[in-house]
Each structure stands twice: as C-alpha cells, then as structure tokens.
Amino acid sequence: MVEAGGCSAKIPPKQLEEILRMIPVPEDPDILVGTETHDDAGVYRISNDLAMVVTTDFFPPVCSDPYEFGQIAAANAISDVYAMGGTPVIALNIVMFPAARLPIEVYSDILRGGSDKAAEAGVKIIGGHTIDDFPPKYGLAVVGYVHPEKIITNAGARPGDTLILTKPLGMGIILAGQRLGLTDHDEVSEVKKYMMLLNKNGAEIMKKHGILCATDITGFGLAGHVLKMAKASGVSLHLNMALVPLIGNAYRLADQGCLPGVSFRNLEFADPDTQFANGLDYNLKMIAFDAQTSGGLLMCVPENKTESVLSDLHKAGLPDSAVIGNVSEKVDKYLMISN
C-alpha cells in the first residue's frame, strides 16, 4: 500500500477558510455548533436533553499495514465526537479503493481494522459506501450524542485556564522521516501506537471534571488548532513548546530539516495571528505546526482542577499528558508561542 500524509492530506487551511466563508450554514436555532467556530464536529439539538454530534474524516494510508491503517483512520474519525464531549454510537464506512490495482485482502483488512477500533470505542458500524479510486482512502462518518448543556466546544477557553495535551507531538515529522528512511522501526511503531490510541479515556476524564473547552489535534498542527480555539473563545492562548512532550527523535528529525510541506502551510495560516517569542527555538516552532494524525486532546482546564485532571489522565493510560500553556485575556495576538 502506498503511504501518504494522513491528516496532512487536508486542503491548505487558508484556502479552506475562504471557500467555507462563501457557503453559509442555514439559520436554525437547533444548530448548536456549526461551521463558524471551525470546531471538530457539528452538534444538532433533537430535544432539550439530547443533541446529535456528527462528524466525518477520511484520508489516504499513513502506514503500509492495512489493518493498522483502518484502526488509525477510525480512531481519528471517532476522536472528533470525543472532543465535543459526546458519546459516539454509530458510524458509516467511507472507502475509496482501487479494486483492480490492489489485492482485495487489503480492502478487507482496512475494514477489519476500522471495525475493531470502532468496537473498542463502543461504536457500531451500520453501513458505508465505497467507490473505486487510487490511492485508497478510508474513514468514518460518526454519530454520537451529548446533552445540549454539556457540549465541549473550542469556544469556551477562559483566562486563567491551563492547557493540557494528552498525546505527544511529532507524528507528521516521523512519518515523513520514515518515507525517507531516516527513522528506525521502534520509532514508527511508537507513532502508530499513538495514532491508534482512542481519545476515549481522555474524553471521560473531561466529562468527569466538567471541562467546557477542548479540541483534538490533527492536520492543522497544535498551533493551528490552538489558534482556532483562541479565536472562537476571544482570548489569547500561550504555548510553551519546551513543555510539549515529543515522540522519539522528532526533535532531531526537525533539526535535520525533515519538515513536511504541510507544516509550512499551517505556519502561513497562523502567522498573522501569532507572536513568536524572541529566540524561540526554530525546531520547536516548526513542531508546533506539525500535522498530527489522530492526535491527542487539548483541553482548557480551570487552574484549581489542573492537578487532579492531570493525575487522572496519567492513571488512565495517558502518561504523556502535560500542561503545555495557559489562557489569558486577549492581548495583541491570539496565539503566543515561546519555549
């Protein structure tokens, strides 16, 4: 199977924003979360105590093993429901597969990976759609539910909150390094392990502590998603890149110049709204824009809850969770990056 860029296979964010601006979402008071805040999923109110969370995500292979690719794509698609505080329940497969060019076992392995990961999340895949296309692409359209008053959005960051990230960064860099033969096997397995890891436990801890604001980190990179959050919340977010956990040799690879093109597009998108501290380490700066596939949750946590949230995350199989910054009143720029 040919490998490509996962969530880095997105349309450049700048372009996407311009296009979406031209296609307005219809007015409806039951649309609780639409496109204007660039959140992870849409939320639609069914009744006073029930809302649907809907989302979709699919991409070309990020690894050569089809079963693992299926799991990664499913974990990534379901993650958006978790990031909204929802409980995912059902999903549809979205598949593009070149039946004439690849063995059909590859197709079944991808679906098996997706189905196993969905089962782990308690999600039932009840249908899907396949068309012939090369390279293959796979993902899910996922439906979940949430109480309308308990939606976690990217618009609820409040000054004084701390920012906690649940998975380390560097997926894009290491996958690019792998394609160029610059990484070792262990490192790639580590990346795959993180990409296959559901954000389920992180989401449960957010619910337990009544967290109001979060997002998951995917193709726009940590800085890109954090910027969307800052804008949606009308505050400034401060990232300390020295505190961000990194996977394996991501720093060393970045230092060698192994920076995927998408990092530069993400940087361009965020540049006007970002202040980079004097002397910010260049590699850490670029790591902030590294596109993640099935990345972790980034949550805004009131300061008095930070310790207990962090300790719960560490106990729940997310030992890399760390405080990586904080929220302030809006200052000059929406995003401040230092180290």
């Binding site: 690019a176 160029l180 610059l182 020295a242 505190l243 990194l246 040799n249 720093y251 060393r252 230092d255 060698q256 110049g257 192994c258 920076l259 995927p260 093109g261 530069f264 940087l267 361009e268 004097n278 002397g279 910010l280 380490d281 260049y282 590699n283 850490l284 700066k285 310790e307 030992p319 760390a322 405080v323 180290n339």
Partner: protein, 204 residues
C-alpha cells in the same frame, strides 16, 4: 561553489539537504541548491527567511537555483543578542547511561557537592556523544524537580533525545509527585534492566 541538486526529490528531502549543507558550510561561504518543485522552493525560502539566512533565487526552464550565503558569526550575533534560549545542538547518542544516586556530586561538603553536580549536568549537555538514558534515584530525583536549578538543563538534555528515568518510589518518598515534569517515572525493574544492559554506567 558547492551545488546540491535536489531535482526530482519530494519534500521534505530538498529541505533536509539544504539544512545539512548549511551546517557543513563554513560561515561566509556560499552554496547553491537546485530544485524543480515549487512547494520545496517555498518551504526552503521560508526556512531561510525564518533563520535570517541570505539567499537569492533564479529560475530557468522550471528549475530554481538558490544561492545561499552562510552568515559570519558576528552577523548572527547581532540578531541573537537579545535571545535567551540555549542553542540545542545536533548530537549523537551512545549506549552508556548516567546514574544519579544523589543530588550532590561526590562525598564531602554539601555545598561543594551541589555546585559540582550543577557543573556536571551542564557538562553532559556539551558532550560530543550523549548518554542514551539518565536514571535518577534516591535523592538524585530532586535534580529533576521543577524548582531545581538544573531543571532547564535537564529539559534541554531530554529534548536532545536522552531518556530521563525517575525512580517513582523515590519521587513519592520526597513528595515530588507534582514537581517532576520531565522524563518518565520508572520502576525498579526498568531501572535494573537499564543499568544491566548499558555498556557503561557513569556515576557522578
């Protein structure tokens, strides 16, 4: 002048080659990079601008030629005068490890021991070949506490790719659970395994 031909290469390979050449080139000297990929060209020029490196670009028949001048030390100095970060060099790791059994170096006067330990860790950072892991046990775990004067140095060493292992029992014993924000908490089994499989153990 050295010419690096990256034609036909996909990103980020051309950037990697450029960065390597930039490191190998002596200050004041120039080199050329050829690329036929517009994305790579954009990424390389953005990288050069961000790193305040002078360059010119010429295009002919779909091939771009970048001429890159590595600045002299003084010129870079001017730009980094107010910078406070430590430069993180690109280094290699070996399979030796460092075991910190105490927060002081050697036995004798405690104040001297503290001072020596600070110098020791700063010196580790400058080694040509870094240890693969550093393990901290007994009062050694205090070195990794966020209020330790060595916290930032250890943070940088970790970013350089050295794994830091802190004995969890010791961290609990000294009530540092909330202050160890670098490395990983480890158990005795992993510590024994690390020490048993190391080619050399350095003990300050």
């Amino acid at each position: 002048m050295r010419t690096i031909d990256t034609r036909g290469q996909q990103c980020p390979a051309p950037l990697i080659e450029t960065r390597r050449a930039l490191k190998e080139t002596r200050t004041g000297e120039s080199f050329k990079v050829l690329t036929d990929n517009r994305n790579s060209l954009n990424n390389i020029t953005r990288f050069l601008k961000d790193n305040m490196t002078e360059f010119t670009v010429d295009e002919s028949n779909g091939v771009w030629t970048l001429t890159i001048i590595k600045k002299t030390a003084e010129m870079i100095q001017q730009n980094t005068d107010e910078y406070c970060t430590v430069e993180i060099p690109h280094l290699t790791k070996s399979d030796f490890i460092v075991a910190f059994t105490s927060d002081k170096m050697g036995r004798g006067d405690d104040e001297l021991g503290n001072l020596l330990m600070i110098n020791f860790i700063k010196a580790v950072k400058d080694l040509e070949v870094l240890p693969s892991r550093m393990v901290f046990y007994n009062s050694g775990v205090k070195l990794g506490s966020s209020d330790s004067p060595l916290f930032e140095h250890l943070q940088i060493i970790e970013k350089m790719g050295v794994e830091l292992l802190f004995c969890a029992t010791c961290v609990n014993y000294y009530s540092l659970e909330d202050k160890i924000k670098i490395g990983t908490l480890s158990n005795m089994y992993e510590i024994v395994q690390t020490m048993a499989s190391a080619s050399n153990i350095v003990k300050p």
